[in-house]
Amino acid sequence: MKLLQINNLKTTFHIEAGQVQAVRGISFHVDRGESVGIVGESGSGKSVSMLSIMRLLPENAKIDADRLTFDGTEIMDMDQKQMRRLHGNDIGMIFQDPMTSLNPLFTIGDQIMEPIRIHQKLSKSEAKKRAIEVLKMVEIPSPESRLNQYPHEFSGGMRQRVMIAIAISCNPKLLIADEPTTALDVTIQAQILDLMSDLKKKGNTSIVLITHDLGVVASMCSRIIVMYGGEIVEEGTTREVFYNPQHPYTWGLMRSMPKVTEGEKKKLIPIPGSPPDLLSPPKGCAFAARCEHAMKICTQMSPVPISLSESHRAACWLMHPKAAKVERGVGS
């Protein structure tokens, strides 16, 4: 049994202008103890798909899926009580912006102890002990005195450490980290990522890491999911996606990835164009408008995902046996 199994998840936001189809039928799974990276440009539906699993979306969002199970239990059928167990106890979540994710009016101690007391039913003093323990795990100096401080007394990096501490405080089976380092500066980013790798090595926690940065995925994750326009366009082991990418969008991402070759950075090549309008997504391949290999069929029919191996699949007409072979534009 997979830890997390998602089949055909669709998430739609109802807004005045119509329906934003933010996630359009994605399927993937997460095994116990593994870490999966989700990459894709801004607006590709990474956060929304994770928040759908957590049922933490605003009221105007509608979630639909053939299957959405955590540890064998259907998430969509869970009642409030089961959801609260899922939140914080079974799944820990770290959000994109550490500056706004902590409540400004409560002490750090209060906010860390909250899930510990809720889920582990510990007394106040035991919860405090555990809070100090997790703060030590995320390498916050002198945690005892820091417990009584407020978020504004912490730097961005320190706040993200606190968020991580909160997320791991109840030993979750799954840790979802939504761009945990995007809002932080580069040196702090590296520290936070090191910290997460350490945690990964120590525990048996599965990790879903959302990021823009393919380099980060390569160093931390065993599998990669590439999202574009609310869909998964390619999925495979890190090795497969890096050495044998199939989808032109993945090629583009690789080209736009900063490479450190012999100490100097090569120029980035961003993918020209902009993502599809999710209010009225294109009929065929969502990437067609920006794809340099687009063919006639691409604008008429959505490509069906084709498997290359048990773990590797991609959705692109180029993989069709009848399509002309193209020069893979990944560069070396």
């Binding site: 914080g88 902590l102 409540n103 009016l105 909250e114 407020y150 504004h152 968020m163």
Partner: protein, 308 residues
């Protein structure tokens, strides 16, 4: 914090001094005085002079001013010019507790009704509970309280005969005046609370709280409420000052022997000492309320460093 409070008190004293001075000279600049005879009851000139002398009104204005300040420094507001043998201090001592009691009850009612109303409205946004409370709120803000008090008085005291009309002799006597006083603050607090709550509920830390498995009731009553209540605290300063110092209209309509009634009649009577005394008293009260609110503010939100 201590230094800040001292600073605020000094600033408050300066404000009070300016207030006293301006009121004093303005009052004297307006033609007529407490003993300007009305047409119908002419007083002999000699008697008039004697009276003026007794109250020090024949002295030059600046001497009167200095004398007033001297007495004021000792906490003495002087004696009423119109109600003989009553000191202003006595008037305040009699009237203020009455006004303050009614006002305080009204404030508590306003908070206890307005805050839950606003929260419910925010959480049930667009549902009937929201519509209902927002209709009440809109009505509450747009109806002047003298209209409301007359309506309620007519309905409950005259037609239904279930509530008393005058005075404050039993708890039933408080119901109508408190309702009238609290009505528009309830409406205002409910609207303020609703919009503040709606905003706060969208913040990331609310999502964090949910992601931790916090019960929705706790998310609202702990995480959201403490943040959303800040605008209410700000509104509390002026509200306390207004309600505790008595409402002239309400006190007139319900015959409540409060301070608001005395204040307004003192103005038409040109009762110099009462006008001044009450102005100074109200001023001091407002200054104190504002200092307390600022301190409260800093206690709730630790990001606010009030020392700076």
């Amino acid at each position: 914090m201590g230094r800040y409070i001292i600073k605020r008190i000094i600033a408050g004293l300066i404000t009070m001094f300016v207030l006293t001075t301006v009121t004093f000279f303005l009052m004297h600049a307006i033609p007529g005085g407490p003993f300007s005879p009305a047409e119908e009851r002419k007083v002999p000139k000699a008697v008039m002079e004697k009276v003026q002398e007794k109250y020090g009104l024949n002295d030059p204005v600046h001497i009167q001013y200095v004398n007033y300040l001297k007495n004021l420094a000792q906490g003495d507001f002087g004696i009423s010019f119109k109600q003989t043998s009553v000191t202003v201090n006595e008037l305040i001592e009699q009237g203020f507790p009455v006004s303050a009691k009614v006002g305080l009850i009204a404030i508590i009612v306003a908070l206890l009704v307005g805050i839950p109303l606003g929260i419910t409205s925010a959480i049930k946004r667009g549902k009937w509970a929201d519509w209902l409370s927002m209709i009440i709120a809109t009505v509450g803000i747009s109806i002047p309280n003298f209209v409301l008090s007359v309506l309620l008085l007519f309905l409950f005291a005259v037609v239904l005969k279930i509530l008393p009309t005058f005075g404050l002799t039993s708890w039933q006597h408080y119901i109508l005046p408190v309702t009238c006083l609290a009505f528009s603050p309830i409406a205002y607090i409910a609207r303020l609370m609703r919009s503040s709550m709606l905003e706060v509920m969208r913040y990331d830390y609310i999502r964090t709280a949910r992601a931790k498995g916090v019960h929705e009731l706790q998310v609202i009553c702990k995480h959201a409420l403490k943040n959303a209540i800040i605008p209410i605290v700000t509104y509390l300063g002026p509200l306390v000052a207004i309600l505790l110092t008595g409402s002239f209209v309400i006190e007139r309509i319900f015959s409540i022997p409060g301070i608001g009634r005395d204040f307004v009649s003192s103005i038409s009577d040109r009762d110099y000492s009462v006008i001044l005394g009450m102005t100074v008293f109200f001023g001091a009260f407002i200054v104190i309320c504002n200092i307390i609110v600022d301190i409260l503010y800093a206690v709730i939100d630790r990001r606010i460093k009030i020392d700076e």
